[in-house]
Symmetry: D2
Subunit: 359 residues, 4 copies
């Protein structure tokens, strides 16, 4: 009921502030008997680290996963998986000047209004560092989905006004991780890097979009009428820091189409029934139909700039927030594993639930 748990059967409960002792969580409902490769989980965690390219960040972190329970002799036991990542540099004094100031388009003001006061160190719970727990749990979910053959791949679809051309559902996703922007197209990557270079000089930041594909999802996943598969995917994505929009399949484009253009006609192909087109994005009536699931997520630009901004403090006094020296220009490439993780949690949860649909 409180807001730090996600999922129904496979459930992540998360804790931790950016400058507290640790970030961690508990994964409950993970079936027993699954081999867990913790190196894979650690690698997923490293995919969300900053500093993977010169454009993305300069701060160095080293997040080391510690699993506390639920795994014995390399396999899940069916009991909850507790885990944590220690926070290193808890230089909370760095943040004392922010104790009363409200940073624009951050959550300082709203946390204070909600809870009466706030942990002002680096955003506290509202920091993107919270997503560590999501990525860890998502990696476990991916391991589970592998048992079902389901694969999830996200990639950067646009940064600012630079966008991958053509039908994104057709991209060669094996190339994503080769790109410093996690964009599966070399030319677009170059343009994005160029834009970043320009923007960093301006001391400004950029938003962008991430697309995600889930392949080999069996038909029958999703729990209408409220827990439709794409509704749960949408909530998962919108719960990620900085996300402003979500669309499944044809998305907002569908609003401008006619029924005769949009309908996915059924055909028999290779002995099984499928559809000619896939504007539905693999989901009909909230239930997967066996086609690829794909969706897109919009991220706003980072609110912390490398140039000064005006704001007010809790007393209403004007304050100048000084631009940070060296900082992420965009969070979008780093958010790719987070999008994948949340998608994996939703699909694994629904895959388990799907076992209960019939007698």
């Amino acid at each position: 009921m409180p807001g730090n748990s996600f999922g129904k059967i496979l459930k992540l409960t998360s804790f931790g502030e950016s400058h507290g002792k640790a970030i961690g969580g508990v994964i409950d409902g993970f079936p027993a008997g699954v081999d867990i490769n913790l190196d894979f989980v650690q690698k997923e965690l490293e995919r969300r680290r900053p500093g993977q390219s010169k454009w993305v960040t300069s701060r160095q972190e080293a997040d080391r996963l510690e699993v506390l329970s639920g795994i014995f002799e390399g396999k899940t036991t069916g009991t909850p998986i507790g885990f944590l990542v220690w926070n290193k540099d808890q230089h909370s004094t760095d943040y004392v000047h922010l104790k009363k100031a409200y940073r624009p388009s951050h959550a300082d003001f709203t946390y204070e209004k909600k809870y009466g006061w706030r942990d002002y160190r680096g955003g506290g719970r509202s920091s993107a560092r919270e997503t560590i727990s999501r990525v860890v749990a998502g990696a476990f979910a991916k391991i589970l989905l592998k048992e079902a053959g389901i694969e999830i791949s996200a990639f950067v679809h646009s940064i600012g006004d630079v966008s991958l051309p053509g039908d994104y559902a057709m991209s060669d996703l094996s190339k994503t991780e080769d790109s410093p922007m996690r964009c599966p197209d070399e030319k677009t990557t170059e343009k994005m890097l160029h834009l970043l270079e320009k923007t960093v000089k301006e001391g400004d930041t950029l938003g962008g979009t991430i697309a995600c594909m889930a392949r080999n999802v069996p038909s029958g996943l999703g729990e209408p009428v409220f827990d439709k598969l794409h509704a749960d995917l949408g909530k998962a994505m919108l719960s990620i820091n900085a996300v402003k929009g979500f669309e499944i399949g044809s998305g907002f484009g569908a609003a401008g189409m006619k029924g005769s253009e949009h309908n996915d006609l059924f055909v028999k192909q290779g002995g099984r029934i499928t559809t000619k087109s896939n504007r539905s994005g693999g989901i009909q009536g909230g239930i997967s139909n066996g086609n690829d699931i794909f969706f897109k997520v919009a991220f706003k630009p980072i609110a912390t700039l490398m140039k000064n901004q005006l704001s007010v403090d809790a007393d209403g006094n004007e304050v100048v927030l000084e631009g940070k020296g060296r900082h992420d220009v965009t969070v979008v490439p780093r958010a790719v594993p987070i999008v994948e993780a949340m998608a994996a949690l939703v699909l694994a949860d629904h895959w388990l639930l799907g076992r209960l649909s019939r007698i």
Copy 2:
């Protein structure tokens, strides 16, 4: 856990198929002592009826709300509110020809894959008639929100390629219900009607978008990190039939902006702290900030056409689905009260939860 309940404290559990005996639900967690005007609830229900303009439909329904419990002497008692609307014309024989056929971009195929078989009469549970329960519960939620001064208004923002010009957050929402298209602008309404006239002749259908505003929402609503206010709004909207996309505030537009353009700067105004702009759509870090909340929802075109379509049946045989004589060209104007209802459920739920944030 199963998918027919919505909300945490204020919870709707819904039931009913389009051609079963009744559609209804149970509203649990509604506080005691609230005066309920059942005429208002009935009127909300009528707003989702077809037949409100010549373009929207021709079938006549008369959905009469029956409240079975939870209200005594005109006031809520704190006990669950059971309600139903009887289904009238259960001509299930009309649908026997669809017993085995899969209608394109309907849920026939996926329900059958999930549950092993299906109620083929008029879509069964996947019919939009299911939204009756949402609208009833949403009307109760609106009554509760009124106690907090919160108002919710949705309107049609676009139909096909005809779109309301300018900043939709500036629309005069008092005009919405005067328009047969539920669009608060006369000229745009005319263009929409023109487009409908053209499309009905083609036997085709149209999608569109709905925008929604929530005013006077107090700051502090939303439960990070997973149950962010806009994440729950997004799930609510995406759970409505035919919805393909959701965006809060600046939405997908944010992805193309720079941080310095997008940030909402804090200012002291009239004695209170607010922001100059509202690109965040009234929510920061998943918590309301006291500004207007606004979001947009994309609907795909109706999948049932007034012209023939090819499909296959369960055995893979080709079948021709004959176009229906007279049918909705677009569901969008009728979906306005549904969008409002789901927004009201989310906000009322979070308004109650918000009481528990502090000691």
Copy 3:
């Protein structure tokens, strides 16, 4: 989250007051494809009716189940099963004299304290009539359990100081329904009837205990550490009106035993591993072990007497509550199907959950 839903996967949401329009509920999470014999459900409902013997009651009711959704062509579709039973004689004027008076050991006072006011007609939501929904949902659960071979039988173990002698787990449960007291022993039944006859003359009422057996429960059901199988059974029983105690297996007797007396030793028998004794009541560590599950439930005497009682009203004035002419002396025999229903809901829920324990 509010208190009118029960179960995790198989979930009953209940509504209705004793003198409102109807009592009903929604069963969600029931798997698709199960044949439903509605006559059986109706019969279960009739087992909780008063008037089944001359001692139990004199009022006549006729509760007719109406199923509104979720079943098509005699089988479940996987969608929620809405149902109701209309209330007949809503003579609310009979209760006006109770508008302000607090009946001793009823819920009048506490409902008023909690909700600020109350529906004073016949107990409102706190009436035992609410258990109609439990019995209906329990009958559906029994149908599901039958698919797994699981059988549930409850019986009256004691009324007042008259108790079934010997080990109740050894009773011949096929005789329960032959007894007007639902006690599977003829001699004990006679003694109980004799006690009732005496008590009715005194205008007084009696409590008692119900024992329940679940047979053929597979090993592996139960979700430690909080949702242990007997913890969920206990909650289910304690949620029934008038229940004051619950014990599983050896129960309170275990507190007086030594470990060497109490331990159930493992043996290999007929090719499978089982235990010599069954003091654990079929559950070890919160998980079923394949043996019979048995537990006992204590009911307090009915609070409404057939003789006058003193009380106070909301203003603190003394009032005399007049004894009712003809009334139940004990609720215990009528509660047998309610105990079975709640046990069936718990076991069916855990049976479904049990499918998810392993990969």
Copy 4:
């Protein structure tokens, strides 16, 4: 949904095995702005330690609480409270001989049946060491309840056949912690110690009962019809290791009483309405009535004996389980803080929920 979370608003999610790295949990939904005395929490934790008297144990542990998040500058922030206690002596080799053997009346067999295999080291998740998380979370709940003036005190009511005489609701609870048996009566304590001395010589173990009182509970807590206050208390208690029974107020005794003996008559006393007697145990219709809440819990004797026992292993071969040298004779005194902790979690949760009953 999976079984390692407890509570609705105030929710504990627990993890950890007896011989894993750590035992811990996440407390979500704790209101912001509450001063937390971590020394108090640590002291509560020490109350459940063995070795507090010569009869209770001989093993030495030192469980040190580490709080990882949710508290800043000594106060709760409204974000989840992650915590853990490291496990010290993880001598898993000690347990290799138990890898295949099923200890009588332990959970070895059932865990294996449920999950397909098990962590055989010291009971794994089924070890009473799991209750560390309960005691920590319960201590936080007690701090919250203190804000409402609510106090909870449990004590040992019986060990084996030695029982506190008289009405336990009248005990002087201030004396509990003075007694090595946590029994508030000196003479009974002596008798209990005598019995322990005798039993330890026999190499045997003892069960017992714990009584619990909650004082100053406001009227109006509890969520009928399923989440009645005593139903949630009952589930909480039955979820504790070794518990076999629960009774509220008059409990099983009520079954033998007449209505005229059992009813609690209302009176006006000192300006407020209360009842003459309190056989209901402070709860009517599932809602607190402002009187003391009291209940009793039955614990079975410890299953691990200090003498040899016969059993079988997974292959059905007979094995001898050797008696442990020095071991707890009874768990009951150590379980007192666990009973209190679970009661505190239930009451704090319902206290928060109670804020939402009325507009």
